[in-house]
């Protein structure tokens, strides 16, 4: 009998595409749960009633406030286990409720934070670290020595040059030169190509 795996998704295209891409059916009975993260209270009973393995495939749209709240919900349920795909290409440390896609390779001494999604065919270089609640797309290269803060989104195909620093909350659409420093006080957005600035931190 196959083991049940619960997969948390939201309604975004990113989340739904990630779900299509992971092909778990051959190994597990997949129980897909679509969450309304803006109304987590109504999901409380559902989340506390879960048992077995759990995989989180939530889009970056919901990665800041509500992912933090969701994390609190999940850790308080002792009947569920975090699920990380233990492929033979995973050499780094992957924290709870995070996921790395097909053919993605994490190098020695690399780290992936809590509840972070990494798509397929990506590379996380040695001595690199990816923060909590991040979304790393498909075919992304994170070169050695890179540090990525919490709540960062990196879109498909981006190459982050070695030893670059990406501050929290950034949304990275274009490749980043080695040794660059993307401040956490300036966030690129897809809102008419604007940059949002954080003040007062």
């Amino acid at each position: 009998m196959k083991k049940i795996i619960n997969v948390l998704v939201d309604e975004s295209n990113l989340s739904q595409n990630a779900l299509v891409g992971i092909s778990l059916e051959s190994e597990f009975d997949v129980n897909v749960i679509s969450l309304d993260l803006y109304d987590l209270d109504s999901n409380h009973d559902l989340l506390q009633g879960l048992e077995g393995l759990l995989l989180v495939l939530l889009s970056p749209m919901t990665f800041s406030l509500y992912r933090g709240k969701l994390y609190q919900e999940l850790v308080s349920n002792k009947k569920i286990e975090s699920f990380e795909l233990l492929r033979d290409t995973m050499y780094g440390r992957i924290a709870k409720w995070s996921y790395c896609g097909e053919n993605t390779k994490t190098s020695l001494s690399s780290k992936v934070g809590l509840m972070t999604y990494v798509g397929a065919n990506s590379i996380i270089g040695s001595n690199s670290s990816v923060g909590n609640f991040c979304w790393i797309g498909n075919n992304v290269t994170i070169s050695p020595g890179v540090v990525i803060g919490n709540n960062v989104t990196i879109h498909d195909g981006v190459v982050i040059g070695s030893s670059a620093r990406i501050g929290k909350f950034n949304e990275v659409r274009n490749s980043i030169e080695p040794n660059s420093n993307l401040s956490s006080k300036a966030i690129e957005t897809d809102f008419y190509g604007s940059t949002a600035y954080i003040h007062g931190l």
């Binding site: 709240k69 008419y192 003040h199």
Partner: protein, 374 residues
């Protein structure tokens, strides 16, 4: 030729949305004469800081000196060079051109080589100051008026507007998010959209209307065709609907300036919109600054009240930005599409009865601002 549908209140000539002559009159008779939003107290987090407000009538420095605030033109008394170029900073004002120095209140304090090169001395120029601009603080929001004889702010905004803004006094956190976008539409079009009580139902069916039960879709409009006689009739504060989720989990971790039950909405003529979508914690200041007849700069500032719990204010603000950009994009796409077609078409727009406030404001502009021979 143009067609009319339903009971039409007014046929509007499109020229007001793209002809520079209309814009010039608006700038001369409206923007530089009225109170406009300058910045928030949160933009001036401590004494000795300034904020540069870029307005159609010029750049205005707003500076803080303890609990006092000053506003003056960003134009050196020497040659008119900008005294500051950055949007925010510390108020050590020294014009980069010849280092004329100014105090926090805009007073001229020092001219390098004054006696040698300018044949003057400190006693002679110490009373000179950068051209002042009137300033009024309403709650934690600062308004400015560039007119040499400004009207009373109470003659522009009614007591409902002022009292509800005053509730934010000393309540806003210094943590905020801001962005600016140049948009290709006339500033009036976006406000006509914002005053249109039906548009959320059709333009935001999967975004904003999922969060707010708008009263406008439940109640029949009160018909008012009377011409506007006072400025005070143009701006308003309203509670536009009940929030579907009044108990969002972050709210208990922040000071609440209102009951938390309604979508709060300030529409401040000429070009400021302040929605508070969660009823008293998050304040979004949308300044649609007119740049030309066909261009508007959208300055968005997201503010949150002071924290009294563990939730990170920046996480709430960021999450809100993600939601707001969806609603705003829906509005901007629609209004950009209107602007694009305005010059291409020989049609004129016809306003329905429910758009009575837009009709009344256009009538007001025709009567008091635009000359007949545009």
């Amino acid at each position: 030729m143009f067609s009319t549908v339903g009971k039409v209140m007014q046929i509007l000539d499109y020229a007001r949305y793209y002809k520079p002559s209309f814009f010039d009159q608006e700038n001369e008779k409206l923007f530089s004469k009225l109170w406009v939003y300058g910045c928030s107290v949160a933009d001036l987090p401590k004494t000795n800081t300034y904020f540069l407000a870029k307005m159609p009538f010029g750049e205005i420095i707003i500076s803080r000196d303890g609990d006092k605030f000053h506003a003056f033109h960003n134009k050196c008394l020497h040659r008119g060079h900008p005294v500051v170029t950055k949007l925010r900073g510390e108020s050590n004002f020294a014009c980069p051109y010849h280092q004329w120095c100014y105090a926090k209140n805009g007073g001229l304090t020092h001219i390098p080589g004054d006696e040698e090169f300018y044949l003057t001395n400190k006693e002679e120029y110490t009373f000179e100051r950068l051209q002042p601009v009137a300033l009024k603080r309403l709650g934690d929001f600062i308004f400015i008026n560039a007119s040499k004889s400004p009207i009373r702010i109470e003659d522009q905004f009614d007591s409902n507007i002022i009292e509800n803004l005053e509730k934010t006094k000393d309540m806003l956190s210094v943590v905020s998010i801001s962005l600016s976008i140049n948009l290709k539409f006339n500033w009036k079009l976006i406000f006509e959209n914002l005053r249109d009580p039906l548009h959320p139902m059709y333009l935001h069916p999967t975004s904003l209307t999922q969060e707010v039960d708008f009263y406008a879709t439940q109640n029949k409009p009160i018909i008012n065709h009377e011409p506007i006689r006072n400025l005070i009739e143009i701006s308003n504060f309203s509670r536009d609907g009940d929030l579907r989720n009044m108990t969002a989990p972050y709210k208990e971790d922040f000071i609440q300036c209102d009951s938390g039950e309604n979508y709060l909405n300030w529409l401040l003529f000429p070009f400021t919109h302040i929605p508070c979508p969660d009823g008293g914690v998050l304040y979004s200041v949308e300044n649609y600054v007119p740049i030309s007849a066909e261009n508007t700069r959208f300055d968005l500032s997201l503010f949150i009240t002071k924290s009294i719990g563990k939730t990170s204010p920046i996480a709430v603000l960021y999450d809100w930005l993600m939601k707001a950009k969806i609603v705003l994009s829906e509005d901007f796409d629609a209004v950009c599409a209107l602007q694009e077609r305005i010059k291409q078409s020989d049609q004129m727009q016809n306003l329905g009865v429910f758009e009575q406030q837009n009709y009344r404001i256009n009538n007001f502009l025709d009567t008091y601002i635009y000359e007949k021979n545009n």
